[in-house]
Each structure stands twice: as C-alpha cells, then as structure tokens.
C-alpha cells in the first residue's frame, strides 16, 4: 500500500529543485535571446548537445568540471550558428531552431556510436559531486531540500539574479531591451544592433548547454539518446509563463520541475502506467500556455532587422 508520505515528502521537493535546474538555465537563456528579438526554438538541441559534450569531455578528461566548460562552449557554438543563420543571413528563426534540434539528435547519436559503440547510451562517467552547504543542511526540512545538491543547482538562482541585474541595471541590458523592442531606435542611438543580437543568442546557447550539462553530469552521469526529452521546449514555456523576466522564469521552472519530479515519483511507485505519467509535464505545459498566453505579450519585435 502506498503511503501519502511516500509520494509527498522532502525528497520530492529536493528533486523538484534538481529537475528545475536545466529548465531554469534554458529559460534564462531563452530570455536573453528573445529580449534581443530572436526566437530560439533550438534550445532543446543546444541543451542536448551540451549534455553530450559534457559527458564526452568528462569521459576523455576524467574531470566533470571540464565537461561543464565544454558543454557551455559547445552550446555557445550552436548559438552562434543560430545567430549566423537568423541575423546575418536573415533566415527563418523557427526553421533554423528546428534544424538545430534535428541536428543535435542525429549528431549526438552518431557520435555516441563512434565513441562508445552504442547510439543509445554512453558509458558512465565521472559526474559532478554533491556539495552540501555546511550550516544549511542541518536545518530541519528546509536543509534537506536545499542543503545537498550538485553545485549547478546552487548556480541556478545565482544566474537568475545575475540575469536580472544585467538586463535591468546595466547599460548593456538597456541596449539589449532596446534592440529587441525597437531595433531602428537602437540603431539611430548608435548601438550595434547585430552585435547585440549575436551576443544574446550565443549566451542563450551557452546557458542551454549548461542546462544540458546538468542533465547528464549532474544527474545521471551518462548520456542517453534524446535525454532532454522536450525540456528545451518546456523551458520556453517557462520563459513565457515568467513573462520574459528572470525571476518569473525561475519560478515557472521550479513549477515545471516539480511536475517532472512528481511524475518520476509516481513512476517509481508504480501507481500508474509509466507512459501516462510521462505525459504530465507536457500536458501541463500545454495547459499553462493555454491559460497564460492571453495575458503574455512578448516584449520584443522579432522581425529581422535589415538595414537599408
């Protein structure tokens, strides 16, 4: 017989934070890109490739931190590709993002096969260590939720705060918002619209890569085919739910992370067939979009900026 406390307990909330992490990084990255006026549907692919690159780098170097670094760089590279296609070559933003997603699926599976001889999963690698925070972890309940995670989880709120400061308290953030909302006005004010867009899209790729690194290195310590499972898209939904603001996206990510953790728990307890449970995060995303979008107006103008 399944007890209520088997389902809802402290472990669940701790898991929620863990599951929120890739979503948070993804959605924060998405905010940068979209605030600069570029839709980035390719977050999923950037996350997946980051997850792969992190594991591969950890495999060859033995250091998971090196893996994280490589994941971020690789994510940034894919971001650069997206920026090139959409900004320099005025390509369709959604098509480019979708192409990157498909590329990521094929590329990661291919390279998996090449390196480990299996396109389904890699070997186990050295993952990120769990670092308990000395005093916090001893606080009852809260300590168990917050106190003992891999460092990337602690990084999550820090990145959110940094994002907020950059976007709303620095000159570069002001310029980013201007470029996204009214590129012509930014241009006549002497701002380099193209450079700003490039920068933001690359940053979004880097953050997505970081999220992917967490999925593989901070969680399962291996790479599995398609392991992002749509989280890049859920991150986009979190961004929309958070109204393109860093703290909103963070909160939304925690919500979706909770749904993810809850779903995993249900599966582990065998309460319902796994397939039905697996649909929960996706249905929730659709429900959120359906309920929220009425009131959510994107801050940016996504028309590609073409100089006369």
């Amino acid at each position: 017989m399944v007890e209520f406390l088997d389902l809802i307990n402290v472990g669940l909330f701790a898991a929620a934070l863990r599951m929120a992490t890739p979503l948070a990084f993804g959605s924060l990255g998405g905010i940068f890109s979209e605030r600069a006026g570029v839709i980035n549907i390719g977050l999923e692919g950037m996350m997946l490739t980051g997850a792969f690159a992190g594991v591969a780098a950890s495999y060859f170097s033995g250091s998971p931190w090196f893996g994280v670094l490589v994941a971020v760089l690789v994510g940034g590279l894919l971001g650069l590709l997206h920026a090139l296609i959409t900004v320099k070559f005025v390509g369709d933003q959604v098509v480019s993002g979708t192409g990157i997603n498909i590329f990521a699926l094929g590329f990661t599976a291919y390279m998996s096969q090449v390196i480990w001889g299996s396109r389904g999963a890699s070997e186990s690698v050295q993952g990120l260590p769990v670092v308990p925070i000395p005093l916090v972890k001893d606080i009852p309940i809260i300590g168990e939720i917050l106190g003992a995670h891999t460092p990337l989880v602690y990084l999550m709120p820090i990145v959110a705060v940094l994002s907020y400061i950059v976007l709303f308290k620095t000159p570069i953030g002001l310029r980013i918002r201007a470029v996204g909302e009214h590129p012509a006005a930014a241009d006549t004010a002497g701002i380099n619209v193209f450079k700003t867009k490039y920068l933001c899209v690359v940053v979004s790729g880097m953050l997505a890569g970081l999220g992917g690194a967490f999925l593989s290195l901070g969680h399962l310590n291996l790479f599995a085919w398609g392991m992002t499972g749509g989280r890049g898209f859920i991150a986009i939904a979190a961004m929309i739910l958070g109204k393109w603001k860093p703290f909103g996206a963070l909160g939304a990510s925690v919500l979706f992370g909770f749904a993810d953790a809850f779903q995993m728990r249900l599966q582990a307890l065998g309460l319902l067939p796994s397939q039905i449970i697996l649909t929960i995060p996706y249905i929730l995303t659709v429900a959120v979009l359906a309920g929220v979008v009425r009131r959510a107006i994107p801050p940016s103008n996504y028309k590609p900026y073409v100089k006369e």
Binding site: T170, E181, H182, A185, D187, T188, G190
Partner: protein
C-alpha cells in the same frame, strides 16, 4: 566665415528612383533652415545621409569646413549632428530618461547604470532648453507632443549642435506646434542650428530664416524667408501655380446611409479609444473627420469596418444593425474601406494584382464557381477592366503587387474598393505618402463616388485635404466628436482650436 555644414554634389539612387540628384546645400551656424518639398522630393533622404543612415553614391560633406565621411549615426553624433525623425525612434516600454541616455549611459562601479547622475544631468538639460518632461514615466504613456520633446532632449544630450527635425509638426495639434516653435527659438538663442524639414509652406515661412526648396531630388533654390511669400514658395515646390482651395460642385444630399450611435471601443493597450462617438453620413456627401493622429480615428475606422469590437453603441447601415456583423458581411452589405496602412491592411504584397483586386469578393460569384472553385477567367477579365479604368500602371495582371509604386498600389486598393459600387466608403489617410499626381487622382475619385451617390467618410490628418473635399467637417479629439461644422461657416483657426480640445459642442 565657414558654414556649419556644406553638402556638395550629393547624389543617391534607389532601385526605382533617383532620390537626390547632385544636391548642393549650405547650412550657416545659428540659423533655422527650412528644407521644403513635397512627399518624395528627397528631403528626408538628404538629411539621412547627413545623419549617417545612408551613404551617398556621389558627393562630399563638410562640417565646419573640414571634409568628413559619415558612415553611421554614431559618427554624425560625434560631429554634433542630431536628428529627430518623423516616426519617433523611442523604445515604448522604457522610461523617458532611459530613452534619452540610450547608447551613452553613465556608469558607476564600472558596470552598473548610474541613474542618479543620469537624472540630474538630464534635468539640467531640461531647464536649460525649457523642455518640461516627466523623466520617470514610461514613454508609451506620454502624449505625442511630449514624446517629441524627449527626442529633442535625446539629441541635445548627445551634444548635438545641429538639430535635424523631420516633419516635426505632422503629429502635432496647431497649439503643440506653437510650443515646438517656441522651443526652436530657445534652441537658436542657445546657439544651436536647426534644419526644419517640412512640406507645410506656412510653417516653414513662419519659423525659418532661410529656406531651400527641393523638387524631385533636385534643388530648386534657396531663399531668405523674409524675402519671399507663400505663392513663390509654392511655385518652387510644385513647379506650377497651386490653387489653395479646391472647387467641387455642391450636391444635394439625400437620406442617411451610415449612422453611428454612442460608439465605444478600447485600443490595443486596453485604454478607451472611442468614448461615445455619434454621427451620421448621408448619400451624396463627404464627411471629413479632422484631428491629430492618435485621437481615436484609427479605432473608429476599424470599428466601423468590423476589424475591432465595439464595446458599446451601435452602427447602423441603412436601417440594418451591423454592430456585431463580421467584416465579410459588412463588405457584402456595401461598406468599402481604403485603409490607412496600405501595406498592412490594404494589400497582400506577395499576391498578384489580380488576386488583390478580388480580395473581399473572392468567395462569391462571379469569382467562384459554386462558391468553391475560383473562376480565373472572370477574375482576369475583371482585373483587366479595372487596370484600364483606373489607370493602374502594371506590366501584367500576374505581377506581384510588391513591385508596384506606392501610388500604383493605392490605385489597386481604390479600384478594388470603389468598383464594388459601395454604399459607404471609409477612406482613411487615403493620400498619405503619395506623389502629387496620385494624390490628385485619389481625391478626384472620392468626389466622383460622392457624386454617384456614395456616402464617404474621410479621415485625414491633412487639414488641407479635409477642407478641399468635405461637405461637412467633424473634429475628433480624445475619442469623441467634439464638433461638426459647415466648412463655409467656420475657419481654420476654429478647427485648429477644436482639434486641440479647445472648444466643445
């Protein structure tokens, strides 16, 4: 004495037109210099070159005696040149002060915005140039006249000594325009130089020291304002004598065709745009609605055409209540609409001339067979006839409308809307951005439709146009019709006052 700016032999071409043709232009320090010409004469292009938005194909630019190459706005800004565009370059959600400092933000701790220094700096500017603005307000909440002040402050903040104002009064009431002129005089006192681009003769004569007239990309001449008059300028601008009032024959109006009762609607931001509009239009009449843009005209047109929901009130077409009818139904019942933005609402740019000409009737016979299949023969025949009747300059019916000139595009819209023999025509800014020939054509066609019995609702920001064409003039201010007048029994002054909210019926 070296001039502030000298432009020699400037030539700039675009795919279909030579915008500037070997233009020589001299700007003296401390003067207010008017750049006068019709729409399309090349004034904005010339000044955009000076501001670094375009590169000239030929020619040289000298600033304070030294030759310079202005490759982008930052260079122009460094040279002390600032520009206030006709369509404001403000970022709507940012505050006034954020817009002003954009691109030149004061920093503290090497990374963060220093808002305190910013506020005090900008306040200094406001005081020096007597320009009052609420610095912390988000720009989109401010009236247009105030937004313009922000644009001027922006240029001054960047150290502009030379200010280019592009059609600054096109969005202002006569009273706001007066405020602007006062500001220009203060700028002159403070030693600034101003270039005033406009097509409005009276204003240019009133505020400028010298005036350069452009026509079709060439300089016609430069005169001192106190040595010329309206008719001389008009001749220079247009190349022929211009009649300032338009004669149209008086017609007897018949019954009421369109009735609008207490119409209320909200705009895209959720604020009330129409606050209870009531009027009627009769057959054989043109009712002109005058008013500065942004007082609800756009929303009024959209609500009557069925493109915006009416929150309250009624719209009645010949005793049929169409308040809830969808646009398609209204077209069927006899409403035609010439929209104010022809690229957004009027045409599907990537459709052919023929496809655009059947828009609105594309799902009915004779253009469909049994309402399902398109009848290309009938459509083609129809298109050819309209091309002939309305003098639409196009190589073929299959040509994509994107490749036509602005005037020709407007003819396509006019042909489509008028050939339906409608009961009501709503014409919203119908001659905006058109050259003289196209403008005359459209106005003539409107009068023709009126003479055939149509009820015409004309909305225009061009007061001259309203005067020339209207049988009755209504004035719209802040979402209400504040007055309806007989043009014979009123004056420009009274209308101007009403447009600014001065009086009320």
């Amino acid at each position: 004495m070296t001039s502030a700016v000298e432009m020699k032999g400037i030539t700039k071409s675009f795919p279909s037109v030579v915008a500037n043709d070997k233009i020589d232009f001299v700007l003296e320090k401390g003067e207010v210099h008017g750049l006068l010409g019709e729409n399309g004469a090349g004034k904005t292009v010339l000044m955009s070159i000076l501001y670094g938005l375009y590169r000239p194909d030929e020619g040289q630019i000298f600033v304070n005696g030294s030759e310079v190459e202005i490759d982008c706005p930052s260079t122009a800004i460094k040279l002390g040149i600032g520009m206030v565009h006709q369509h404001f370059m403000v970022v709507p959600s940012l505050t006034v002060v954020e817009n002003i400092i954009l691109g030149r933000e004061p920093i503290k701790y090497k990374l963060l915005l220093d808002m305190n220094k910013t506020l005090s700096d900008v306040k200094d500017f406001c005081e020096r140039y007597k320009l009052e603005v609420d610095l912390k307000a988000p720009i989109h909440t401010l009236p247009v006249g105030v937004q313009q002040r922000v644009e001027i402050l922006k240029a001054l903040y960047r150290g502009a000594d030379i200010l280019i104002l592009d059609e600054p009064t096109s969005v202002l009431t006569p009273q706001e325009a007066e405020e602007l002129f006062k500001a220009i005089r203060v700028l002159k006192e403070q030693g600034k130089t101003v270039i005033f681009i406009s097509h409005k003769l009276r204003e240019v004569l009133a505020i400028c020291d010298r005036i350069t007239v452009l026509r079709r990309g060439k300089v016609v001449g430069t005169v001192k304002a106190n040595e010329t008059d309206l008719s001389e300028l008009a001749v220079m601008m247009v190349g022929r004598k211009v009649v300032f009032t338009c004669r149209k024959k008086q017609v007897e109006t018949k019954e009421v065709v369109l009735k609008v009762e207490n119409l209320k609607a909200i705009d895209d931001r959720g604020l009330p745009a129409l606050k209870g509009v009531t009027f009627e239009v009769r057959s054989f009449e043109i009712l002109g609605i005058a008013g500065v843009e942004g007082n609800g005209q756009t929303e009024l047109v959209e609500t009557i055409a069925g493109l915006r929901k009416a929150a309250e009130g009624k719209i009645i077409l010949e005793s049929i209540d169409i308040t809830r009818a969808p646009p398609g139904k209204r077209i069927e019942l006899g409403i035609s609409h010439v929209p104010e933005d022809r690229h957004k609402r009027g045409l599907i740019l990537d459709f052919s001339v023929m496809e655009n000409l059947i828009l609105g009737s594309h799902n009915k016979p004779p253009f469909t067979i049994g309402r399902i299949r398109l009848n290309f023969e009938a459509a083609s025949h129809h298109a050819r006839r309209l091309i002939k009747d309305f003098f639409i300059k196009t190589p073929d019916t299959d040509t994509s409308v994107r490749h036509l000139s602005g005037g020709t595009q407007q003819r396509v819209i006019v042909a489509r809307e008028f050939s339906r023999k409608p009961k009501v025509i709503i014409a919203s800014q119908p001659t905006r951005g058109l050259d003289v020939g196209a403008t005359e054509y459209v106005r003539q066609k409107l009068v023709e439709m009126r003479d055939q019995g149509c009820a015409v609702l004309l909305i225009s920001a061009d007061l001259d146009e309203i005067w020339a064409l209207s049988d009755r003039i209504a004035v719209m201010y802040e979402g209400e019709i504040v007055a309806i007048r007989d043009p014979e029994k009123t004056s420009e002054q009274e209308i101007g006052l009403l447009m600014a909210g001065g009086k009320h019926d």
